[in-house]
Subunit: 337 residues, 2 copies
């Protein structure tokens, strides 16, 4: 590739080459009246008082994987963090750390993915930043997206709100994102047929909260998987959690890859699933609402909240046994998001 | 160093080791009732309608330099982006991309710098994220800070508001940050005595906007220096800009280093200076207010806005000549912020 096809250090220098990159590539796909002003900050009119503010950096490797790429992941991840707080996603920031030598065509693919989700969900990228680091000091693209959402009135979906007796719903299959990424890792190249589930969840969550604003807790089981998410809930709410292996839905490709790689699917990241904690009385209605959305068609109850043992997650195995589900130390699945 | 003293990949896995790092290092220094909840997003009560949202990633190399470090730089930079929009900084996010092998002691120093500025300015870090990449895929620490501020009523400091006849004030000396960082670059190690000017500017800007809410434009001349900042103003406002070399204040150490490195000080980054564009009638009062603040003691008029030539910045040299000040392509000063 010649120099006009790749990212150069000067693209990050804040001079004319930075301006050119922003105009030719970022504004071309993401332009809107606020972003087009190219201010160092975006002035927003937010009449609602209760806003939610979130941030995530994405360092997934490789940056392209079955079912998505780092751009789709970043936007979906931030939209979902807002959705899990019961907030309608409104505004995103997009900050890029590019590695010298990155193909501009790859960067454009990533930005197009961002643009697709932005169009689909109606959120707007309103401010951003571009930096460039030398070859060998980065990894193609790192993305940070921060987000601002507006909380639905009367909604409080904090994980500490889970109560003994509540049921635990998950909106679909387990482990698709993590396995899709792992399958493309250098030196691995597994043919699993698994694609990432990365998807923006607000379209599914919004009707749920409109109909059942008193849902107790929402959490997306991303990095650390269902195990870490349920562990957080058990700790924050001071409750126990019991899930049933028979109720978990796992694609054969995910199951096979987990076996091969020695992974517990409960630790594998999801990027388009939600855990919904509600009362048994709300469960049927919740399932009905979730299942009307394409992303929630396989929504199912997978367990319940118990008074004891506090802070612990237990799995009732398919054979009727029981084991403790531990929050992993963090060794198994680096750079999955 | 042994494994308990450095960042491991598992610190980014989202499991127990990530939790431990956040509790022992982040919450220890930055804890507050909102951050302590450790939600994926922060719920904020913002009664004002007009908010400003900004983001910046910091990749400065080296991460420690005379007068500061990447933590101080990140927080000041985001506070200043808000201040330049006429917004009181309220809430920050802090997202870390750590390189495997980073000394925990270095990370703690960076977080302590963040904490110091946070305490000094009264902003709060309310949400964050921690990722880890393998050795050789990052550079110690990259930081993204996004920020939310509340716009002062009646204030509009957009760069497009500059008008022919306006005066251009800068609040102090030129080029200190860029030269402080360059002086510590690998293989260079210049003894310039120059320290970075990185500082939070809202304390100086707030009284200015209270007394003179109709200031036309504010811009901090960071990456790309005064040349890029004034170039932006000239382009956005459709005006010309003329500055006077005699009026520029440059420390001898900065002057010497620029000569040695072949840099134009107008292209060198500042991280604690503001350009203030106002009418001549406001200028005296503006200077008086700025000079009462320790960061603005050397505030001075350095030029004026002209009708022509549109989009161009001219420098009247000390010898009475004139030259065009070009926005650099971006080659000279990589990774300065």
């Amino acid at each position: 590739m010649n120099n006009s096809d790749i990212i150069l250090l000067s693209h990050g220098g804040g001079g004319r080459r930075t301006q050119q990159l922003i105009r030719d590539l970022i504004l071309k796909h993401l332009g809107n009246p606020i972003l087009d002003r190219l201010d160092d900050g975006a002035c927003l009119d937010v009449p609602e008082r209760e806003i939610v503010f979130t941030t995530d950096s994405y360092v997934v490797s490789p940056i392209f994987f079955p079912g998505g790429d780092i751009g789709k992941l970043a936007v979906c991840g931030t939209i979902n963090d807002l959705a899990m707080q019961g907030a309608a996603p409104r505004y995103l920031s997009l900050a890029l750390i590019l590695e010298e030598g990155l193909a501009l065509a790859d960067l454009e693919r990533v930005i197009q993915s961002v643009a697709r989700i932005v169009r689909e969900t109606g959120v707007a990228v309103v401010t951003g930043d571009t930096k460039v680091v030398e070859r060998g000091k980065g990894n193609g693209v790192f993305i940070n997206t921060a987000g601002i959402g507006v909380r639905h009135p009367g909604v409080d979906t904090h994980v500490a709100n889970a109560r003994s007796g509540d049921v635990i719903i998950i909106t679909g299959t387990l482990g698709d994102h993590g396995i899709a990424v792992m399958s493309r890792r250098e030196g691995l190249n597994l043919e699993t047929g698994v694609v990432s589930d990365a998807a923006p969840l607000w379209g599914m969550i919004e009707p749920l909260l409109r109909e059942i604003p008193k849902v107790h807790s929402l959490r997306d089981p991303t990095r650390g998987g269902v195990a870490a998410a349920l562990g957080d809930i058990a700790t924050a709410a001071g409750v126990g959690i019991r899930i049933h292996e028979r109720a978990l839905q796992i694609r054969p490709g995910v199951q096979g890859a987990c076996k091969l790689l020695g992974l517990d699917v409960l630790n594998v990241a999801n990027e388009g699933k939600a855990l919904v904690i509600c009362t048994p009385a709300q469960a049927e209605q919740a399932l009905r609402i979730l299942r009307t959305h394409p992303l929630g068609r396989q929504a199912a109850v997978i367990g319940e909240v118990t008074a004891e043992p506090v802070g612990m997650v237990l799995l009732e195995t398919a054979l009727g046994g029981e084991r403790i589900v531990e929050t992993p130390l963090g060794e198994d699945l680096p750079r999955i998001c």
